[in-house]
Structure formats: structure tokens, C-alpha cells
């Protein structure tokens, strides 16, 4: 996984988001063992306690579960991760429309831009 973190936002939710993206996209399969807390901390260059907190938060949400003495695994049920992922996508879209509004483009016009948009 590629851990690109935004320095102006708290680390913990960002770790949660990235793991949810991994699960929702199928990069992390249900039942698959996750990297250990230390491995994630090293890969992302963040504090191990923060990673632990992120894993615990995802466990409360039902996206991952822990096995004592073994580590963390992706839940069979990926609905929780998908919900988080959905929320993330919506947030980005909100951000897009907010940016457009700052450029003086209303929702209607912005949608039209998106429809006409082609990848160059």
C-alpha cells in the first residue's frame, strides 16, 4: 500500500481510510492477514500507537478483527469498509463542487463539465 498522508489532518482517520480503500477495492481480501502494527507504522512513517488506535477503530466499525497473539485480519463482511469508502468518495465530490463554486461555477454547470469531460 502507498501511504500518502496529509500533514494537516489527524493521522488516525487517514490510516483507517486507506485500509478501507484497500478492502473496498479488493486489494485486501476478506480473511486476509493485515500488516502488523509495527509494519504499518514503519511503512507509513507514523507512530505505532496511532496505528494501533486506527486498527481498534476499524474493529469497532466491523471492518477488521484481531486474533490474540496472531494479528489483525480483514472481516469477511466488507460492508463496513464499503460504507467508509462511500463516505470518502462523497466527501471528495463535495470538495469538487466546493472548488467549482469558488471558481463561480454552479452545480448544474459543474455537472455538465463532468459529463463532457474526457481523459486526455
Amino acid at each position: 500500500m502507498d501511504w500518502k498522508l496529509d500533514r494537516s489532518r489527524p493521522v488516525c482517520p487517514q490510516i483507517c481510510e486507506q485500509l478501507c480503500v484497500g478492502i473496498a477495492s479488493g486489494e485486501l481480501k476478506p480473511g486476509e492477514r493485515l500488516m502488523s502494527v509495527r509494519e504499518v507504522a514503519l511503512a507509513a512513517g507514523v507512530n505505532p500507537n496511532t496505528v494501533q488506535k486506527s486498527f481498534e477503530e476499524l474493529e469497532r466499525a466491523g471492518a477488521v478483527y484481531s486474533v490474540r497473539g496472531s494479528g489483525w485480519y480483514v472481516s469477511e463482511d466488507t460492508a463496513a469498509a464499503s460504507r467508509q469508502f462511500d463516505g470518502l468518495v462523497r466527501q471528495r465530490i463535495d470538495g469538487f463542487f466546493a472548488d467549482m463554486a469558488r471558481l463561480g461555477i454552479n452545480e448544474e454547470a459543474a455537472k455538465k463539465y463532468v459529463e463532457e469531460w474526457k481523459h486526455e
Partner: protein
């Protein structure tokens, strides 16, 4: 989490200059703390008091209940700002010296890390590059199984790759029974590794908070906040 270090009303003067003006501080075990402040704010003075190299003029400092001294030096592993190692010594001689000095020193861990970096253990310290010398010092300090690691400016004056190495060494040696207190003014490189930051200014502590709380409340990185708070 248990209390590891407590400072109460800590005052230190150098002649007429007041370096610390009554510091109250508690460090718990299992956390990585950043002691952040501009030059001359009192970072090194506090660290030297914690390591028993200076004595306070007022107030007290306790590490696991003891005043800094023989007992606390057994559990505190200190990386000073400037190396005190003899430059004519070979790396392996220094490892031997640490083994003799500290009960909790793990020579295997030290050699493993030295090997990982490709540092020749028969090399004399004076023949190593500045970056490698700093890495050797850090490896020695982190190879102790201490309760508190005190690192004074571990990332100042090294290149970004060495900085990354130092940061990953701190992360990979992390264990929940021990804590790390590191001082720096280079915040952006290290803030994500910290549990809590302590801002020190003119010998006073102005803030002690978790990195995520700071980002949450201010919508900005600790580095940005630091630049605002300490704007001259």
C-alpha cells in the same frame, strides 16, 4: 499507562539567566514525546536535568520515583547533542564499552543494526562519515533495553535519508513499556512519529498535546502551528 517521569516546579538558572522557569511535566510509559522549541528555549537544559548532568535550583524531577542518579541512569538511555565517544576507538571497542557499562545493553541488537547499515565494526570512529557516526551513536543508545530514551536533537544536521533511518530505528525499537523523549526544532520530519508534543518557550511549557488533537483542533500540522506560535 504509568508515570515514568514527573517534573514539578523545575527551575534552572545559569548565573543571571533563567533557563527553566518552573516546569511541570509528566511523561507516561509507552509513548513517543517530542520536546519542541526554538534555540535557547530550554530543551537541552531540561534533558540534562532528566539525565542527572545538571541539578535543579528549585523543584524536583523524578524518574520511576527516583531523583536522577545511579538508579535512574540504569533505566535512561541518553543520546547527547554532541558525541562524547573517543574518536580513536573502533566501533567494536565502543560496543564492548557499552556492554561493560550498561546491564541492559544488547550487543547482538547493536551488531544487527550496524550490519544492516554496512558499517564495518573494525572501523575507527574518526574514519566514519558524519552521518555514519551519528547512526552509530543512535544504534548504541537504542540497543539498550531502557525505560526511557532521551534523544537530544537526533535529526539535526543529517541528510534526509539518514533522518529517515533514524526515524525508522525509533519506530522499530518502540516497545509499550518504554518511552522516547526527543528534542528537535525540525518538526515536519518527525511529527507523525510522535504521540505527544511538548512546546517549550523561554523556559516554560506552553503546550502538551497529542499530534492528532492538534491537527484536529487547528486543521494544520504541528509544524505549521509551531511556526505560528514561535513567530519572531
Amino acid at each position: 499507562m504509568s508515570e515514568l517521569l514527573t517534573a514539578t516546579g523545575l527551575v534552572k538558572r545559569y548565573g543571571g539567566t533563567v533557563a527553566l522557569r518552573g516546569i511541570d511535566l509528566t511523561l507516561e510509559s509507552g509513548k513517543i514525546y517530542g520536546l519542541l522549541g526554538p534555540n535557547g528555549s530550554g530543551k537541552t537544559t531540561f534533558i540534562k536535568l532528566a539525565c542527572g548532568l545538571l541539578t535543579p535550583d528549585k523543584g524536583k524531577i523524578r524518574i520511576l520515583g527516583d531523583a536522577p542518579g545511579v538508579e535512574t541512569k540504569k533505566v535512561v538511555s541518553y543520546l547527547p547533542e554532541n558525541s562524547y565517544l573517543n574518536s580513536w576507538m573502533r566501533v567494536e571497542q565502543i560496543v564492548d564499552m557499552f556492554r561493560d557499562f550498561y546491564e541492559d545493553f544488547d550487543p547482538e541488537a547493536a551488531y544487527r543494526m550496524l550490519e544492516g547499515l554496512g558499517i564495518d565494526k573494525t572501523a575507527k570512529l574518526k574514519n566514519l562519515s558524519k552521518g555514519n557516526k551519528e547512526k552509530v551513536c543512535l544504534i548504541l543508545v537504542m540497543s539498550r533495553r531502557a525505560k526511557l530514551y532521551v534523544l537530544d536533537e537526533p535529526i539535526a544536521g543529517v541528510d534526509p535519508a539518514t533522518r529517515d533511518y533514524i526515524i525508522s530505528t525509533i519506530i522499530s525499537n518502540y516497545n509499550p513499556e518504554a518511552s522516547v523523549l526527543l528534542s528537535t526544532h525540525l518538526i515536519s520530519d518527525i511529527e507523525q512519529v510522535l504521540d505527544e508534543v511538548i512546546f517549550i518557550q523561554n523556559g516554560e511549557i506552553t503546550l502538551q498535546k497529542s499530534v492528532d488533537d492538534i491537527r484536529e483542533e487547528n486543521g494544520k500540522s504541528v509544524d505549521e502551528l509551531f511556526r505560528e506560535v514561535f513567530r519572531w
